[in-house]
């Protein structure tokens, strides 16, 4: 095993190659501000992908995070504008809503044993509808300007949204690697029966993964709102697919049982760089879809090749 390449090889290679290429062609990417843009623009996906890695580690999937982010964004803004609450209370309420949505997902999956895609598909529909009902379809603006200075500010040269994403990724990475909860997640993904027989509280651990995911979706919602000082009922729409793509590109298999947070972080960066590159070449985002589709196939292909290589060397 010592000789085998780490799981992240494929995606690390993509990130390095994409960066080398783009930095060579476009001078802006050689500057700190250019890199800061890539980090800022991927913050939302980074936060969502961190939680998604935990869910995918159990062999599950969560297609509802974008919708949860939508409803959380509206609750957050409504409490401040109409409820007149302070920012910290509104943040707490927003995170609570995320946790509630995540708990519903978790209960449906772990307690009622619904397939994760079905349970979260229902939340995908209901969450977005919740955002529309609460907001009557209109965006909510006029939020405190503190939010803007948070959304556009930076600390030590790194933009705030990127810090939040970094923290989320580090926290989830630590949880995954060094805690009993994290090992439990991987054990469930590796084999539910075996995890159960070895005394793991399977249902609790699995449900908690979705709860954490809901919480992170709410965190992402705060970042999204801060970027425009406006909450839009469509906030976070379709971001679940991008988050899943980042996780899989990073080398976490969808069957579960294995997971790498470093890989996820690199996957997020790869998507950020590809998107940045397509736009820098003056192409519309349809081309991002094409390149990402190919990149996704390529990365699973590399992963398969790598695991065969390992089988041969050990």
């Amino acid at each position: 095993m010592r000789h085998s390449l780490p799981t992240e090889t494929g995606v690390a290679f993509v990130v390095a190659a994409a960066y080398a290429w783009l930095a060579a062609v476009f001078p802006s990417l050689r500057s700190g501000s250019g890199i800061a843009v890539v980090l800022t623009n991927t913050a939302e996906i980074g936060i969502l992908a961190a939680g998604m890695t935990l869910v995918i580690a159990t062999g599950g999937i969560d297609v509802s995070v974008g919708s949860i982010a939508g409803v959380c964004a509206i609750v957050f803004a409504k409490l401040m504008v109409i409820g007149g609450l302070g920012i910290s209370t509104a943040v707490a309420a927003c995170l609570t809503v995320g946790v509630i949505c995540g708990t519903i997902n978790g209960l449906l999956v772990a307690r009622f044993k619904l397939p994760p895609i079905v349970a979260t598909l229902a939340m995908f529909a209901a969450g977005r509808a919740g955002a529309y009902v609460l907001s009557a379809g209109e965006s909510i603006s006029g939020l405190p300007s503190v939010l803007i200075s948070f959304g556009y500010g930076s600390f030590l040269g790194i933009p705030h949204p990127a810090w939040v994403a970094l923290l989320a990724l580090c926290a989830c990475g630590t949880v995954l690697r060094y805690t009993a909860f994290g090992r439990g997640l991987l054990a469930i993904g590796g084999g539910r029966e075996a995890a159960f027989l070895s005394g793991q509280p399977v249902a609790h651990i699995e449900a908690l993964a979705y709860v954490v995911n809901g919480l992170l979706a709410a965190l992402a919602a705060i970042i999204i709102v801060a970027r425009g000082a406006t909450a839009i009922p469509d906030a976070g729409r379709f971001s679940e697919m991008t988050a899943i793509t980042a996780v899989v590109m990073g080398g976490t298999p969808v069957q579960g049982g294995k997971a790498t947070m470093i890989g996820t972080a690199l996957g997020v960066l790869a998507i950020g760089l590809i998107t940045n590159g397509v736009r820098a070449y003056g192409k519309g985002d349809i081309w991002v879809l094409l390149v990402l589709g190919l990149g996704l196939l390529l990365s699973v292909e590399v992963d398969r090749w790598r695991s065969q290589e390992r089988r041969r060397t050990t």
Binding site: V63, L108, V118, A126, A129, V133, L290, V300
Partner: protein, 294 residues
């Protein structure tokens, strides 16, 4: 459940009864139902196909552009079906030859097929379609097609070797392999068949709308999966029927129509759809548990 809803609607809502309304409901249900049958086939083998919406747009646009270039509609239709079949075959090949997870493969082809269709058509609509072609999407033709297809598939699944193999692969791929089923070849054919059925739905949809454009059926994969779930097909494979999938599609379409006719604001549709999905899935699970105990 479907019958109960239907009777209730027929008696209480006069607007539902009008022949014109029944015709669009039938049209919608036929198209969504054919897609659901294809999806159900894939799910029966424990796979999943997220790319069907994109495959539909791709094949409908190929058929549409062929018609606008002056080919007669049956020829153009066959071209469209061929494209759908090829799209499905590529999915199947990646899943079997390359042994990649179906959800990832079809997520990638969802992006690719949609993107390619946009780039190739320049977003232009193909809307000058021959009247004879548009006829196939009108009235009860799509529903008739759905009935034909679902019954044919039901017979195939129940009474042919291919059908038994499909169910076996979904039950347990390794057990199927040990008992001599050529698992990869079955999977490949299933994805190809799903592509073909989707293309078929695409032709009907283009005919019904009088327009083939790259945006057709965008995001419908989730509706279709919901239909399959409501129809009682187990997502982990091996259990479920074509008729169930077709009925699931009808329930979704009728529900949407009923919500609209009763003046429910559109914002709430998602809440209701979500609840229906959960209730249907829970009922199905409960039914299975009861069956196992008896």
């Amino acid at each position: 459940m479907l019958l109960a809803t239907l009777t209730c609607l027929l008696t209480t809502t006069p607007a539902f009864r009008t022949p014109d309304n029944l015709a669009v409901v039938a049209q919608d249900a036929g198209i969504l139902g054919i897609m659901a049958c294809g999806e159900a086939l894939v799910i029966l083998t424990a796979g999943i196909d997220l790319s069907i919406g994109s495959t539909l747009a791709m094949s409908a646009c190929v058929a549409g552009s062929a018609m606008m270039r002056g080919l007669t509609w049956p020829v153009a239709g066959v071209l469209g079906l061929l494209v759908g079949y090829l799209g499905g075959t590529l999915n199947g090949a990646l899943v079997t030859y390359r042994r990649l997870p179906p959800i990832i493969v079809t997520l990638a082809t969802l992006l690719l097929y949609r993107g390619l269709t946009n780039v190739a058509t320049g977003a232009a609509p193909y809307n000058l379609l021959p009247e004879s072609f548009k006829q196939i999407g009108r009235g009860f033709v799509p529903l008739g097609a759905l009935l034909l297809i679902s019954v044919a598939l039901w017979v195939t699944l129940g009474y042919t070797r291919f059908g038994r193999h499909v169910m076996a692969v979904g039950g347990s791929a390794s057990a199927a392999r040990l008992s001599g089923v050529a698992v990869p070849s079955i999977s490949r054919r299933v994805y190809a068949l799903a592509g073909l059925l989707t293309a078929c739905a695409g032709l009907l949809l283009a005919a019904a709308n009088g327009n083939a454009q790259w945006t057709l059926a965008d995001g419908w994969e989730l509706d279709v999966i919901a239909a399959v779930v409501i129809g009682g097909v187990r997502l982990t494979g091996g259990e479920g029927s074509m008729l169930g999938a077709a009925l699931g599609a009808m329930i979704i379409v009728i529900l949407r129509n009923a919500l609209f006719l009763s003046g429910v604001p559109v914002e709430q549709y998602g809440l209701i759809t979500g609840a229906v999905i959960v209730v249907a899935a829970l009922t199905e699970q409960w039914r299975r548990r009861v069956e196992r105990q008896s």
